[in-house]
């Protein structure tokens, strides 16, 4: 029982980055189709903000996407010029547990159909 509890906590632990990842639901993936509002290709974590429009209500929501380091993303094919504001994008990410509009990047499909993973082989 104790072993199970410890294992569960370990799985939920922050990973190995400097920020905790306990708030992301590692068991789920959310797909977001929207428009890039912000792309900061900088260490320690690349930032992406995607504006998603709800077709029924017409309202828009900004989703904050937490990504990996520049090196990890570069090894997956990302470049500083990969995204700019206004580009269409589909993001697949692990959502926040509390339902707020945010996710940890798993992969993204660019406007030209290219799929890029979140990380090309680094732990950071």
């Amino acid at each position: 029982m104790r072993k199970t509890a410890v294992a569960a906590v370990l799985l939920a632990m922050p990973a190995l980055a400097h920020h905790s990842s306990a708030m992301f639901d590692a068991s789920k993936e959310t797909e977001l189709k929207g428009v890039v509002k912000l792309f900061k290709f900088e260490n320690p974590h690349v930032n992406i903000v995607v504006t998603v429009r709800d077709e029924k209500s017409g309202t828009t929501t900004d989703w904050f996407i937490e990504a990996a380091s520049v090196r990890g993303m570069a090894m997956a094919g990302w470049r500083r010029s990969t995204l700019k504001a206004g580009d269409g994008i589909t993001v697949i990410g692990r959502p926040l547990r509390d339902g707020q509009p945010g996710a940890s990047l798993v992969r993204a499909v660019l406007a030209d159909g290219t799929t890029l993973a979140a990380n090309g082989g680094r732990n950071y």
Partner: protein, 268 residues
């Protein structure tokens, strides 16, 4: 007006029996006890010493897979915590299990410090000189200076506590033994839910294995205020010749966008 204020201040000093003159001035090198020569001074670098059994120079990467069995970035097995420490640790584990970060000060740009800075996944750029080993953790550029020139620990009266602490190393056979003391306690954690205490002492026993491509570090922590006996955990790094460190500051405008630093994601 300013001159008048100055004159009043001077009068008050003199009235209080103070005197301003060369005979009462202190300062300069004479105020310090004899200090060791700089680790980068030529005299110190060129001093004759036995050849060290290995050179740690290289980019060292955290071996996440191998370190899982000893708790990943945590130091397993855990010691028997003192009741007050155990209560905080239990609260942290419950918070994390509920999907929130617990006092993740490093996420708010506080230094990881020792020993946590050694468990980061970014390149640890290590440069060994005859007198000193410098470790630069790429994340936030945290630096450790490990003096191996025979000097004793610095006097805490003139070198106050710091996040990397005061590290003195020496060789015992094929092992580099590093003793770290005098650690800053403010917003500083050993690992999740275990704060750094004033008496924390960290002894690392470092070896190079696999023909110099694996760094093994058996880390023993002693803090009689926080846990019983010695807390020991062994971690591994691999040499990575394909990478160099890059700039990775913790910048407010990047950090503020991170979901993990939002108030709703935290127990502060």
């Amino acid at each position: 007006m300013a001159r008048a204020s100055y004159a009043v201040a001077m009068l008050l000093v003199l009235a209080a029996g103070g005197a301003i003159g060369a005979d009462t001035q202190v300062g300069g090198a004479g105020a310090l006890p004899p200090q060791p020569p700089s680790a980068l001074s030529k005299a110190n670098l060129n001093k004759k010493r036995p050849k060290p059994p290995f050179d740690l120079t290289g980019n060292w990467m955290w071996n996440g897979q191998r370190n899982r069995e000893s708790g990943g970035a945590q130091f397993f097995p855990l010691p028997k915590f003192k009741p007050a420490v155990k209560a905080v640790y239990d609260e942290a584990m419950a918070t994390i299990a509920a999907g929130k970060a617990y006092k993740n000060d490093e996420g708010y740009c506080w230094p990881a410090g020792m020993p946590e800075s050694m468990t980061r996944v970014w390149p640890n750029q290590t440069i060994q000189l005859p007198t000193m080993i410098t470790m630069v953790q790429m994340l936030k550029h945290e630096i450790r200076w490990i003096y191996i020139d025979g000097r004793p620990h610095a006097d805490p009266e003139i070198k106050p506590p710091s996040y990397s602490g005061d590290s003195i190393g020496h060789y015992e056979g094929d092992t580099l033994v590093v003793d770290t003391t005098n650690l800053q306690t403010r917003h500083h954690w050993v690992q999740n839910g275990v704060a750094v205490g004033e008496k924390l002492r960290i002894i690392e026993r470092i070896k190079l294995l696999d023909g110099g491509n694996t760094l093994q570090n058996t880390i023993t922590m002693i803090d009689p205020d926080s846990w019983e006996g010695e807390w020991t955990s062994t971690k591994y790094w691999y040499r990575d010749d394909s990478v160099d460190a890059e700039e990775a500051f913790c910048l407010p405008d990047i950090n503020d966008n991170l979901l993990s630093t939002r108030e709703s994601s935290q127990v502060r």
